[in-house]
């Protein structure tokens, strides 16, 4: 059952030290800033964060990194013009990094959500990112075995939710959120709008409420 939380602090309550946390967003678009700020206040440490990037500027994921709460980042593209927080932590050996092709990152989370134990993808064959991974020829093409990324918690942002947890997003802010929602034990969503049950078009719901554990309304 989806729980409608009164505050972002309620929404992130109970996240344990050592958790694997999926953080939505592509750069800052779709990033759940309010939930990340609440997580910083909440205090969980030694986190593994899975996100497309490794923080931008000094807010959001970058602030979580700066607060020293993250042991390891799994992402596709840490290096950006404004990723100075991560860059400094990485160069000084204070954070681990696993780089994954963006599509493998998404597909591995989907696999976790879909009960798939592993999948063969052509992406990465013959590259540094396939080193140590099993490869296999199927039907004349070479593939790399990729394993699921399951998580304890997903922190995502959505445009609107109903009290059952059904979600819709807005434009490219959708990005990783629907996939992350399926891959975490506890999916926590900040939404700009909470609407009545029945207000969302059943044909246009992107994330069905079954994937959503907690929602909290945050000013857009």
């Amino acid at each position: 059952m989806t729980q409608l939380c009164a505050s972002v602090d309620d929404a992130v309550a109970g996240i344990a030290d050592g958790s694997t946390v999926l953080v939505g967003g592509f750069g800052i678009t779709g990033m759940p800033f309010a939930l990340i700020d609440a997580l910083i206040r909440q205090g969980a440490q030694d986190l593994t964060v899975v996100s497309n990037n490794a923080g931008n500027g000094d807010t959001g994921l970058a602030a979580l990194l700066a607060a020293g709460r993250v042991r390891k980042v799994v992402c596709s593209f840490p290096r950006q013009t404004d990723s100075w927080v991560f860059d400094e932590l990485y160069r000084s050996g204070r954070i681990e990094l696993e780089v994954a092709p963006q599509g493998s990152l998404a597909e591995r989370m989907r696999a976790a959500g879909a009960g798939i134990g592993g999948l063969y993808t052509p992406t990465g064959v013959g590259t540094l990112l396939a080193e140590g991974k099993e490869t296999r020829e199927i039907g004349g093409r070479e593939y790399v075995l990729e394993l699921p990324i399951a998580a304890d918690v997903a922190l995502i942002a959505a445009h609107a939710a109903d009290p059952l947890g059904n979600l819709v997003y807005r434009k490219t802010a959708r990005n990783f959120a629907p996939v992350m929602a399926t891959a975490a034990t506890t999916t926590i969503v900040q939404v700009a709008h909470v609407v009545e049950v029945g207000d969302l078009d059943p044909e246009a719901v992107v994330t069905p409420g079954i994937y959503v554990d907690r929602i909290v309304q945050v000013a857009a």
């Binding site: 160069r91 989907r110 434009k171 802010a173 990005n175």
Partner: protein, 227 residues
């Protein structure tokens, strides 16, 4: 190295192409109505030469088909960006989808074409565009590997020579590979190349350099293509 001279495509009466002309040369070869991904950086300028009448539909890896030109002023919407994280616009007939669906589209071979930059391309079509190999560099791959293996055709847009004058079209890549045997064509400031012609790399056109001069500067066997 064998030479089938096709002087009409050997423009020695002018200098190399400007960056804008390079984008234009590539855009001319994109079929009407194609589904195209322009990656990030310089390749995105190809869109400037593909007006709506071209019927070309742009995909951006972060979950959209039907991406329009860069957004400016009041049209800027923080929820609507491209793969380079720059604000863009939405064209009629657009659609949004999540990242797993977006990359399934890319990896499943549904995009007709992608255009990528490169550090190096080998004669066999190997692409190196994600990592300089510098042990000090922070690795970052993004969607480059997915695009390279997934698009039906991969066009590379790059200057042919490094600042120190070395060719980026090489016999074998020395930079870390993005994907093997994936590049179909290379569009540069001094020549366009076709890597699908067989033994030798096909030269489709040159600017500011003759075929013979080009052959002398590259370590890969060249032939005229498309003749």
């Amino acid at each position: 190295m064998s030479v089938t001279s096709v002087p009409a495509l050997q423009h020695t009466d002018r200098g190399p192409l400007s960056r804008d002309e390079m984008a234009q040369a590539l855009a001319r070869d994109i079929p009407r109505g194609a589904y195209v991904n322009l990656g990030i950086g310089q390749p995105t300028t190809v869109a400037d030469h593909l007006p709506p009448e071209s019927g070309v539909i742009f995909h951006t890896e972060n979950g959209m088909l039907g991406m329009g030109p860069a957004a400016t002023g009041d049209a800027i919407d923080p929820d609507l960006i491209n793969a380079g994280k720059l604000p863009v616009t939405e064209l009629p007939g657009a659609s949004y989808f999540h990242h797993a669906d977006s990359f399934a589209m890319m990896r499943g071979g549904h995009l007709d074409l992608c255009v990528l930059g490169a550090y190096q391309v080998s004669a066999a079509g190997d692409l190196a565009n994600w990592h300089t190999g510098d042990p000090e560099a922070i690795p970052a791959v993004g969607g480059a590997m997915d695009l390279a293996v997934g698009a039906k055709q991969v066009f590379v847009l790059m200057s042919l020579f490094t600042k120190s004058g070395e060719s980026k079209l090489v016999e074998a890549c020395t930079y870390p590979i993005t994907a093997l045997h994936c590049v179909d064509r290379v569009y540069t400031d001094v020549a366009t190349f076709d890597l699908t012609t067989g033994e030798a790399v096909g030269v489709r056109e040159t600017w500011g350099i003759s075929f013979d001069e080009l052959s002398a500067r590259l370590d890969v066997p060249l032939t005229w293509a498309g003749s």
